[in-house]
């Protein structure tokens, strides 16, 4: 049988300044059969998106096709005249971009956008297309399918928007779908839901797909075939079970090794007490904070954090975990003073700090350093690396000239970057290297507490794993305390001494890593743990059967003023109690607390 899509010795080059060609894709060949999902997996720069886009006969600006063929049902799409390409795109081959939020036009209703391409290509008239869209909403298990089309993109959640994008792509019944990292930016609980509906709709429609991602665990759930790419070449190609269970290539094994084990008790990297002293490095007490204008009673218009307590011992790492919107970044901003708390105290070395950073002394500022999430935006693109690292040295420690240069060299060495990087600009570095510079800048201040806000979320698996190793080493060498914020429980589990689980701005569970990751769990912690994708085929189906998943997945975090905010997602919620009264904080022992109306015995089931 003729394959639907045949990619044959495909070569794509980038044209450099001097007119010479830089190969990006180096002779890649593979086929996609009807009804088959082929995953392209690799790190940034491996050429996976470039290859996937070639199925639409498209290259990003600056790139050009220099060899090989891409045949859709035997017809070469590269040499196709542009008028025919226009017919091809959206009708026969549809593309799903990474960010649904950026794909939808906020000014048009969802229905108009989902049906647009099908109507434009003359595939359906408006009425038929709308009917088709509604049946797709049903297939994708979206809420209120009949009226969904009349709503605007901002009226649905991020996970729903992501699924709507699939409806948009599928509306004109394309032969081939190209999915570019469609779940990468989502929370684990949302990711499950989106994966599940993608999988079922692809099966139902019998479509073929190219699935681009860097996440092996995701691939294991959805792909029939896996192609592992590195630097524009295929390293390994096989069906999903085979590649996952018996990887034959070194690079695949390396990728697998970088996948973090599932969160469980006993992984916590307990730090020795060598740096410990009596007073904790940083302590927050009864923090209430939020955004908007202050009201008469001193609380902000939108309260995000409510009564948050936590203690960071010297040399210890505290992981803060929760989904988007739970207030974890807000907490870091309160600690650093970027967002002054409305009530409560931040104590550094037992000494109360001013809520607003502008009133804190330079010495106090020096001791708490913030590492921003996106190294891309956290480094000034107009400053060289030595200027970026040199400024805190000059500003806090008054170092100049020779001494400053020596210290910059030490810092670069500490984060394992070559010395010649000092003279470069951030855009000449890769993502992981930028994140290292970002860390080095914070370390330059010789801080006592390092606030790391999702520092590895934007990085590839292997690169992220390397950064975690680096952080572990730095922690041993310097005795710095870490506040490590992440939505990825596996990362936190392998790195933190203690874990704080935040939900809707409230601490639902906190304690030592081993305690938090072992029963009794708060129902939310349990949901988080069970949502981390496992690197095996068939995990998705099993998980969807569990009680937590059915109750709690695909709901958004809502800030509530009364009761327990987790109420509507909780499988063991008590009607009339959980939605009315704030849950009591139960002390399980050894500093392990759970905020819930249910007693410890009831959790263990």
């Amino acid at each position: 049988m003729l394959a639907l899509l045949e990619i044959d010795q495909l070569q794509i080059d980038a044209r450099k300044d001097d007119g010479s060609l830089l190969p990006i894709v180096k002779g890649v060949s593979f086929n996609v059969n009807r009804g088959e999902v082929v995953a392209l997996i690799g790190e940034s720069g491996s050429g996976k998106t470039t290859i996937a886009l070639s199925a639409l006969g498209y290259t990003k600006p600056g790139l050009e096709f220099t060899g090989g063929e891409v045949r859709l049902e035997g017809q070469d799409v590269i040499t196709m005249p542009s008028e025919e390409k226009r017919q091809l795109r959206g009708e026969r081959v549809a593309y799903l971009a990474q960010s649904a939020a950026a794909t939808f036009n906020p000014a048009l209703t969802i229905g108009e956008q989902v049906t647009e391409s099908a109507v434009l290509h003359g595939h359906f008239n408006q009425e038929e297309a709308t009917q088709r869209a509604v049946s797709l909403y049903h297939a994708l298990e979206l809420p209120d399918p009949e009226r969904l089309g009349k709503r605007y993109p901002h009226q649905v959640s991020g996970g729903q928007l992501q699924r709507l994008m699939a409806a948009m792509a599928l509306c004109s019944k394309p032969d081939l779908l190209v999915l570019d990292e469609p779940t990468t930016a989502l929370d684990v609980t949302t990711q499950i839901e989106v994966l599940k509906s993608f999988k079922s709709v692809i099966k139902q429609e019998g479509s073929s797909a190219i699935y681009v991602t860097h996440d092996l665990s995701v691939v294991a759930q959805i792909a029939d075939h896996i192609i592992v790419l590195y630097a524009g070449e295929i390293q390994e190609h096989g069906n999903a079970g085979q590649v996952i269970n018996q990887p034959s290539h070194d690079y695949t094994r390396r990728l697998m090794a970088a996948v973090r084990p599932l969160p469980a008790a006993g992984q916590g990297d307990e730090t020795s007490g060598e740096h410990r002293r009596d007073t904790p490095a940083l302590e927050v007490k009864n923090i209430i904070a939020g955004y908007g204008r202050k009201q008469a009673d001193g609380t902000p218009a939108i309260t995000v954090l409510r009564d948050v307590h936590m203690t960071i011992e010297r040399g210890h790492t505290v992981g803060i975990i929760g989904e988007s919107g739970c207030g974890k970044s807000t907490l870091a901003r309160v600690m650093s003073g970027l967002l002054p708390a409305s009530k409560g105290e931040v104590l550094l070395d037992g000494e109360a700090l001013q809520p607003d950073l502008r009133k804190r002394s330079r010495n106090q500022l020096q001791k708490i350093q913030f590492v921003f999430q996106m190294a891309d935006t956290a480094l000034n693109p107009r400053q060289r690396i030595d200027q970026i690292l040199g400024r805190p040295l000059e500003f806090y420690l008054g170092l100049k000239g020779q001494e400053k240069r020596r210290r910059i060299a030490e810092l670069l060495q500490m984060v394992e970057l070559p010395q010649e990087f000092a003279g470069r600009y951030p855009e000449e570095l890769s993502g992981g290297q930028k994140q290292r510079v970002n860390l080095a800048r914070a370390l330059a201040a010789s801080p006592e507490v390092l606030l790391c806000d999702e520092v590895i979320s934007a990085l590839d698996t292997i690169v992220g794993a390397n950064i975690i190793e680096l952080l572990k080493r730095l922690r041993k060498q310097t005795g710095v305390s870490f506040v490590f914020i992440s939505h990825d429980l596996s990362t936190v589990a392998s790195f933190a001494d203690e874990i704080v689980v935040l939900y809707a701005g409230r601490v639902v569970e906190q304690g030592k890593t081993d305690h938090v990751l072992a029963p009794p769990y708060h129902p939310y912690t349990r949901l988080l743990i069970s949502s981390v994708p496992e690197l095996r085929v068939g995990w998705l189906e099993e998980t969807m059967q569990t009680q937590e998943a059915q109750a709690g997945i695909d709901r958004v975090v809502k800030l509530t003023d009364i009761g327990c905010p987790f109420f509507d997602r909780c499988p063991i919620a008590i009607e009339d109690t959980c939605d009315r009264e704030a849950p009591p904080i139960r002390n399980i022992g050894d500093g392990h607390t759970i905020a819930c109306h249910r007693s410890a015995e009831e959790f263990v089931r």
Partner: protein, 310 residues
Amino acid sequence: MSEMEEQTNPAPQFEELPDAPPKPRLKLSWPGKLGAVLVLFWVVIIFIGPSIAPYYEADILDEELFIVPGGDEYPDTDFQMPSKVAYLGTDYLGRDTLSRILYGARTTIGISFVATMLAYLIGVTLGIAAAVGGGWLDTGLSRINDAFLSIPHIMLGLIVIAAVGSTIPILIGITGFIYATSVFRIARSLGQDVMVSDFVEAAKVRGEGLWWIITREILPNIAMPLATDFGLRFVYIILFISSLSFLGLGVQPPMSDWGSMVKENLAGLLYGSIAPLVPSLAIATLTIAINMIVDDISAHSGGKLAKRMI
């Protein structure tokens, strides 16, 4: 997958790949190159124009120069066609058009340039102050700015000049002030974008003062878009000053200036004279040339600048 395995079977090193191929440096397209050549040409003229001009700008040519053997004893000197005497013909008073263009380049481009600089000095300073200061400062400055923006430029210029008279410093001052309002808006919006970026936040967490944040973090990051806008604004100002001159309120005779040259010689169109066309052509070549360069810079930065400028 476990650590044990990794130790016994060390995986070979796979180097981290850079995120994206390096950004190409700014390359001029052929219209861009043509634009650069034309701009360069006029810049050279500013400096050497008066010394290569065949006559002084206010000189009215002698009749004798136009006497041809067997011709009229007292020939017309005004609106003459190009000849060996006056390469680009003469104007309505019989002055050499070429010389006036060469002298006028200095006046027109010079005044416009100084006015653009002034507009930038006022606009960028206040725009950044509004972006960084925020709150009441921002609201106050922006509303006042909106009020001035709502008055048509040429009206505002006419009223002020009619009231205080037309001297070159006043012309520069009023033009700079009027165009500072547009610059203010652009500088403020560019500044606001950079203000919320993580690296400015990082500088704030470090405890940096306002001066450092403005000069080291913000200005270097908005310099490129501002430079592009400078080109466009310069063009608008040339046209504005030419319009004022055309209305007779700009540069005063006998000084030559491209805008007033068009106006003075308008009547020449009836006699088929090229006198009004030459200065028009000069204005067109310079402004279009600058636009062609700006287009390239704008395309280089992903077309984002062009959008913002509309």
